[in-house]
Amino acid sequence: MKSIILLAAVVLLSTTACQSQINNAKTETVKVYGNCGMCETTIEKAANKKKISKADWNEETKMASITYDSKKTTLDAVLKNIALAGYDNQSFLAPDAAYDKLPGCCKYDREKKQVAIVTQPAKDTTKPMQNHGSHQHDGMNNTSQETNQLTVVFDTYFALKDALVKTDGNTASAKAKDLETAINAVKMDKLPMNVHTVWMKVLNDLKEDAEHINGTKDISHQRDHFMSLSKNMYELIKVAKPAETVYYQFCPMANDGKGANWLSKESGVKNPYYGSQMLTCGKTVETIKQ
């Protein structure tokens, strides 16, 4: 009899546990601005919908891991609720009124918007535009400051690529070390949120590939890791917007005929996977402008 009760209790408990589970669960990690533990409670409460969605926000990284029922809602729907609670995030900026209502300790630093020059209707063209111009400048400074720190990462990547083009395993190894240092120096919470999100996604792989390239002088092993390194770097540069135009290039023969990509500052092809063997094999597949 006792065991039956116990069994019943277990069944009951497990069913209640099942009920609070989210079906068709999908988890994504995205940047959500915030400051403190109080923010965490508010953010998670805003994201929480019984059996549909929940979030776990990390005060250190400012990243929220959001789990949701992909058949019943979307990541954006959850992020919208978080923004309506006052917290800027990857997809939405909170209404000013909602941000203003946050308690003092929760008032995180907001990214400034880049004020646009309003196209004046034809009859108003005589009005001076200087005011708008200066506004725009402030905004520009603001955004470039925060992406600046990635420029070092990109530049070391390009140096590494050049070493591979020259089939120089020693230099490649040294440049990979520089790359590791540059990656570790990035203050990720200063990144704009969309960049931050991608950064979090690729960070571990970037580090791992750089480590491997650094740890060997075998050029073919270095080139193997350069393939995934380039892929991740491309994702990053696409959101971070490079200081100057960058070309995403592709060699169909690399990687045993499966093809591989790399990034370059020049439009002309200099293949890092074959070096002098087949220096000009490949083509530009995408031009990434600032």
Binding site: F92, A94, A98, V115, V118, M193
Partner: protein, 750 residues
């Protein structure tokens, strides 16, 4: 002969040349659209539901013309039911107006009907089905008429902006026929869904018990600013849209965008707000107005507004939000590219403040009292007492003397559009020498029974209104009902007299709030039968309208049998609405069934025990509601009961009359009267001389889901019960009945 021949030779080519020339000079461009109307299944909410799609889409396709074109629209009805299409706000020959049984016969299933008319105006309009409730389930579409580029009224910086037509609409998973039926039976399930029941319990919690008491004393049921619950709000068929490019051109910071917004909702008003700053209103109901900057505006059912918004920053999309007037639901357009800047949602309504305001306005006889405020043109909005963004979150400080206490623009620093701010850029004055005919209408209604009318008459109870071609018609409308009504005139634009003199704006809908009086005028310039009606679909179908008709006008070739057409037109508001419920309880079955329309009620109640001791009893009443408020209903009845002496032996009534309950079948005459507190008082005299007086009320809202019911009569019968509402159809009921004792059970209502 020879001469003739040469003449022919010479003249014929010339004639051909001439005709060509003429057709080039004068013939308008014919723009043809083919619309295939078809049943479809749609899934907006996770549940597949029936809808109507045209050319496979909801909303119907956007139809675009340029002033001067000729429209040729082929409507292919591929459904198994009748349909029609009305071109809302258009000037056209009456037979193209698309009102079934008035300007044409309905388009029969699996036939094609051609609408053909010249486009003689420009502006933002829309089109919709005028048949039954089809408009609710998908039959609405944008209808845009562009200005010619050489039009003298062409406005640089407005008419040349990148432009998007946006059609607002709502979706409900409940069949519209069912919604209509539930509205007529005062079913409070929609209020429950919207958390707007306003029960005694909720009233006490916020310190408004007296308000609720006074409200019921004045015989009002709790009301909301709107009475249908919708599952989704749609802008061009979607709850959320990213507007990143227009006509292939990417939007960027600094761009201005013109939105041509039509409210194709069947019963919802929408607040329009924008995250990127001010909204510039540039046209209303398809007519240009002088640009006016506001923070927000409300768009009435079937109105159109053209607004211009600016994208104020780079790499950002700004939310353009449409929120239902009851603030329970919304839809968004994100204008621009990049991260999405949200706009503050409209805060929830303070319902009990609204109830208190209504109490103050309502006289004991059901008339409204504006307390000398002469309200008009949406300038004084009584609803501001419910708006936290205007009157604050807490209870407002009561200042009955303040003349601005309902003036949103005086109370808050945000600017809300009202009709007085609309000014036409052109002189709209009517011909000065034309005779003037003045008409007065009072908008009347009864929320509890969902009867809506003009001068307490529905369409089928009133004659057509005769007007003469060339006359200036001036209409003064006063709203003595508790809801706002968007009154729409077919085939003409009217001037809304709003203090702008010769530059009064041209409109074809005027939204009139409770207690407002508005004056409008138009020149009667096109013959035909023109509908003038409230555009809330369920009000229109309940008969809230009139027909204007011109004296001595030619017969409409599309109405071969006017008598039949009229009978079919009148059938809409004569429709009987069915409701029934039954309580399957431990001590028996308790239930009722009712068929009701504007004036008549046929109802049957029953109490069926499970054995002879408990008895079996039915009462059937056929009655007619009298008066504007419909508090009084005389009826004839038939009672039958059978019982073996049971638990509560009451052979004599309060008047000492002996009443055999064992077996009785009698006719009766009686009268129902709704007392303050919404208690129904019934007096009935039966053919066997017995008199019975009875008091009852079944729907006292104790909490959001709990209802209390009681009944007591002079036969010394009594009942008290509690109902807990689960959903639209089911509730748990427990009651004590003097005949059948204590019982508990499940109630099914339809």
């Amino acid at each position: 002969m020879a001469i003739q021949k040469t003449l022919c030779k010479k003249v014929l080519p010339l004639a051909i040349l001439f005709t060509l020339l003429i057709s080039n000079l004068f013939a308008q461009k014919i723009v043809r659209y083919d619309l295939y109307v078809k049943d479809t299944i749609i899934n907006f909410t996770g549940k597949a539901k029936r809808a109507i799609a045209v050319n496979g889409q909801i909303p119907m396709p956007t139809l675009t013309f340029t002033e001067g074109d000729t429209a040729e629209i082929y409507v292919h009805n591929e459904m198994n039911e009748e349909t029609s299409l009305h071109w809302h706000g258009l000037f056209l020959p009456n037979k193209e107006d698309g009102v079934p049984n008035l300007t044409q016969m309905p388009i029969k299933p699996h036939t094609t009907h051609i609408y053909r008319f010249p486009i003689i105006q420009n502006g933002t309009h829309w089109y919709h089905s005028h048949s039954g409730l089809q408009e609710q389930i998908g039959m609405y579409g944008n209808f845009v008429m562009l200005k010619k580029t050489n039009d003298p009224t062409f406005r640089k910086g407005i008419d040349d902006l990148p432009t998007v037509p946006i059609l607002l609409s709502e979706w409900t998973n409940i069949k519209p026929e069912n919604i209509h039926r539930m509205l007529h039976n005062a079913n409070d399930y929609p209020a429950l869904k919207k958390n707007a029941v306003q029960s005694y319990g909720e009233a006490i919690k916020v310190g408004h018990f007296k308000t609720k008491l006074k409200n019921e004393w004045k015989r009002m049921l709790a009301m909301d600013v709107s009475d249908v619950y919708y599952d989704k709000i749609l802008m061009n068929g979607k709850p959320s849209t990213d507007l990143t490019r227009i006509e292939g051109k990417q939007l960027k910071g600094g761009d201005k965008v013109r939105l041509r917004i039509s409210n194709g909702g069947a019963s919802s008003y929408f607040w329009l707000t924008y995250a990127g700053g001010k909204i510039t209103v540039v046209a209303n109901d398809g007519n240009d107005v002088e640009p006016v900057e506001v923070d927000r505006l409300i768009i009435a059912v079937s109105e159109t507004y053209d607004v211009v918004v600016t994208i104020p920053a780079e790499n950002t999309a700004f939310e353009f939000l449409a929120t239902t007037e009851d603030r329970t639901n919304s839809a968004s357009y994100y204008i621009g590219n990049g991260i999405k800047q949200l706009v503050s949602p409209q805060p929830r309504l303070k319902y009990f403040e609204g109830m208190k305001m209504m109490n103050d306005m309502m006289k004991m006889n059901g008339d409204l009292d504006d307390m000398g405020m002469n309200m008009s043109l949406n300038q004084m909005d009584m609803n501001v007492v419910m708006y936290p963004e205007i009157t604050g979150d807490a209870k407002p400080k009561q200042d009955d003397k303040d003349p601005n206490r309902y003036n949103a623009n005086a109370l808050a620093d945000i600017v809300t559009l009202n009709y007085a701010m609309l000014r036409s850029p052109i002189n709209t004055a009517l011909p000065k020498d034309a005779p003037v005919k003045e008409l007065k209408f009072t908008l009347t209604g009864n929320m509890n029974r969902y009867v809506w009318s003009l001068d307490n008459k529905v369409v089928s109870e009133a004659d057509k209104i005769l007007i003469k071609k060339g006359e200036n018609i001036r209409i003064v409308i006063y709203n003595n009902s508790m809801m706002r009504h968007p009154m729409h005139l077919h085939g003409h634009d009217f001037r809304l007299l709003n203090g702008q003199g010769d530059n009064a704006p041209l409109k074809n809908i005027v939204d009139i709030m409770p207690m407002e009086t508005d004056t409008l005028e138009f020149n009667a310039n096109v013959e035909g039968d023109w509908f003038f009606h409230c555009h809330i679909l369920y009000h229109m179908m309940s008969g809230m309208g009139r027909v204007f008709t011109y004296e001595n006008q030619a017969a409409n070739p599309l109405i071969p049998n006017p008598k039949l057409a009229q009978r079919k037109l009148f059938a809409d508001d004569r429709k009987m609405h069915f409701m029934s419920q039954n309580d399957f309880a431990t001590n028996g079955n308790d239930g009722e069934m009712m068929l009701q329309n504007t004036r008549w009620s046929i109802g049957s109640e029953w109490r069926l025990g499970y054995h002879d001791m408990h008895g079996y009893e039915t009462e059937t009443h056929i009655g007619r509601y009298l008066g504007k408020m419909q508090w009084l209903m005389p009826f004839v009845g038939f009672d039958w009961r059978y019982r073996k002496m049971g638990i509560d032996e009451q052979e004599k009534n309060l008047f000492g009359q002996t009443n055999t309950k064992d077996n009785r079948a009698v006719l009766s005459l009686g009268v129902n009267y709704t007392l303050p507190m919404l208690v129904r008082f019934q007096t009935e005299i039966f053919t066997d001389g017995i008199v019975r007086l009875q008091l009852m009320r079944e729907d006292i809202p104790v909490t959001k889901r709990l209802r209390f019911a009681f009944m007591v009569n002079t036969d010394k019968e009594y009942m008290a019960g509690l109902n807990y509402i689960f959903n639209r159809n089911f509730s748990l009921r427990t009651h004590y009945d003097s005949d059948m004792g204590f019982g508990a059970g499940l109630t099914f209502s339809y």
